[in-house]
């Protein structure tokens, strides 16, 4: 109805002789021409996608996830939310107790400073003794001196343990419990669906 009226107006208008005409009103863009999908190309595209995902799984299983930088770690939200409820309600120490603690800390600080000073002097004396021995060796035999300055490769695998609080007990007296083992190996499971039409296989 509308198009007919519009056509009528233009046909009998002053510029009708110019032969303007209107086609039917188009409500939408004309449909694009449907491309023919090559099944081989589509299959290749799906294979590439699955290969990419499998590669990512393999990488994650070998190296694990990328770790977050320490500066960005905000802590566990569960603990941050319950921080107020986790406060210990202990009585405040008395003035005597506070004074005793302060005096003990002063005494401890003095003791550790004296210990540090003694150890630094000991190290300096040992270094001086080593220097004197090496100077003497260089004076006597430069070739032996050169060999003595070489790094000792055998030190790399050296590991020492101890001291212990008590001597170890024999197995007859105390048999240590093995304890429980909880496997926390991370596993990754990715699921993706592939159109069955695009896969080769036995058809039902």
């Amino acid at each position: 109805m509308l198009t007919a009226s519009i056509r009528h107006i233009f046909n009998y208008a002053s510029f009708g002789s110019r032969n303007f005409h209107l086609s039917v009103v188009l409500p939408a863009e004309p449909l694009k021409k449907k491309k023919r999908v090559d099944p081989q190309v589509e299959l290749e595209r799906i294979r590439k996608k699955t290969r990419r995902i499998e590669k990512e799984i393999k990488r994650l299983e070998q190296r694990g996830r990328y770790l977050k930088p320490l500066d960005e770690i905000e802590g566990e939200r569960h603990f941050i939310k319950t921080l107020d409820s986790r406060e210990r309600k202990l009585p405040a120490p008395s003035e005597t107790e506070v004074e005793q603690r302060a005096l003990l800390m002063k005494e401890w600080t003095r003791f550790k400073w004296r210990q540090l000073d003694t150890e630094c002097q000991l190290l300096a004396n040992q270094r001086r003794e080593l220097y004197r021995a090496m100077q003497h060796l260089r004076m006597l035999d430069p070739s032996l001196f050169e060999l003595a300055t070489q790094p000792d490769e055998s030190l790399l695998g050296l590991s020492l343990s101890g001291p212990l609080y008590t001597l170890p007990q024999s197995a007859e007296v105390f048999d240590a419990v093995d304890g429980d083992y909880r496997d926390v190996t991370p596993t990754y499971r990715y699921t993706f669906e592939v159109d069955k039409k695009m896969t080769f296989g036995k058809k039902k």
Binding site: T82, L83, S85, R86, E87, R88, L90, R101, L104, M105, E107, W108, F111, E119, L122, N125, Q126, E129, L130, R132, A133, M134, H136, L137, M139, L140, D141, L144, L147, A148, T149, Q150, P151, D152, S154, L155, L158, L160, G162, P163, L164, Y165, T166, L167, P168, Q169, V173, F174
Partner: protein, 237 residues
């Protein structure tokens, strides 16, 4: 062990450089086996730091659970005392208090070996010295066949039979001791070694060597200059 050379006594032929006889000595150290006793000040400071850590800490999940269960138990007791009907909630079969009792019982079952019964010398580091009155440190001259001072030390360890249980630390000597033997000057280069064997008593099995701690050194080392050097090099940190 024929190649062992007494400090200041009979010498075997060795390398000479600039008219001085070269020799190497081993300072074989054993680390402390047991932790030393804390002094009174250290004990008080340790207790204070433990107390401060506890005061500044927050409640753990287990302590929160224990607190919640205690409060629930109090409420149920008070409700029962008032005669109110309390709806029983589905709680854990094992409470936090039960777990604590179980752990305390397991801890009591473990008995540690007595520290008092152990040899007090195990609480201090020691040096391996000869049992012979004249001998002190194991040492031997550097001969033509030794490519370096380290090779001479390895040869000495082999002669002592401690190659498997001792590790030499570094190629450089850590100290020097000079003395005269029959008017010939001798340079004794001291090398540090550490005993890494499982049983420290195995080094004393032959009867020729003994572990000596720093307090007993004056009685074993007759040379005062060497004693001063040994005290410096064998000092513990």
């Amino acid at each position: 062990v024929a190649a062992l050379w007494r400090s200041g006594s009979a010498a075997t032929p060795g390398l000479t450089r600039s008219g001085r006889l070269l020799s190497v000595g081993l300072l074989i150290q054993r680390k402390a086996v047991l932790t030393p006793d804390l002094t009174e000040l250290e004990t008080r400071a340790s207790d204070l730091f433990t107390r401060l850590d506890f005061e500044r800490s927050r409640l753990s999940d287990f302590e929160l659970r224990d607190r919640a269960e205690s409060e629930a138990a109090k409420r149920s007791l008070s409700a029962a005392a008032e005669g109110k009907v309390q709806v029983a909630r589905d709680g854990a079969v094992i409470t936090a208090k039960d777990l604590m009792q179980r752990w305390a019982a397991e801890q009591q079952a473990v008995t540690l070996a007595s520290r008092e019964a152990a040899d007090p010398s195990l609480k201090r580091p020691a040096v391996l010295l000869s049992t012979d009155a004249d001998l002190c440190l194991p040492c031997c001259p550097v001969v033509d066949g030794d490519a370096s001072l380290r090779a001479a030390c390895d040869r000495l360890l082999e002669l002592m039979g401690l190659t498997a249980s001792c590790r030499l630390l570094g190629n450089a000597p850590v100290g020097l001791h000079t003395y005269k033997y029959k008017k010939s000057p001798v340079s004794l280069f001291l090398h540090r070694a550490i005993f890494t064997g499982a049983d420290w008593r195995s080094a004393e099995a032959s009867g020729s060597w003994k572990w000596v701690d720093a307090d007993s050194l004056p009685g074993r080392v007759p040379d005062r200059r060497l004693l001063k050097k040994l005290r410096l090099l064998a000092a513990e940190f």
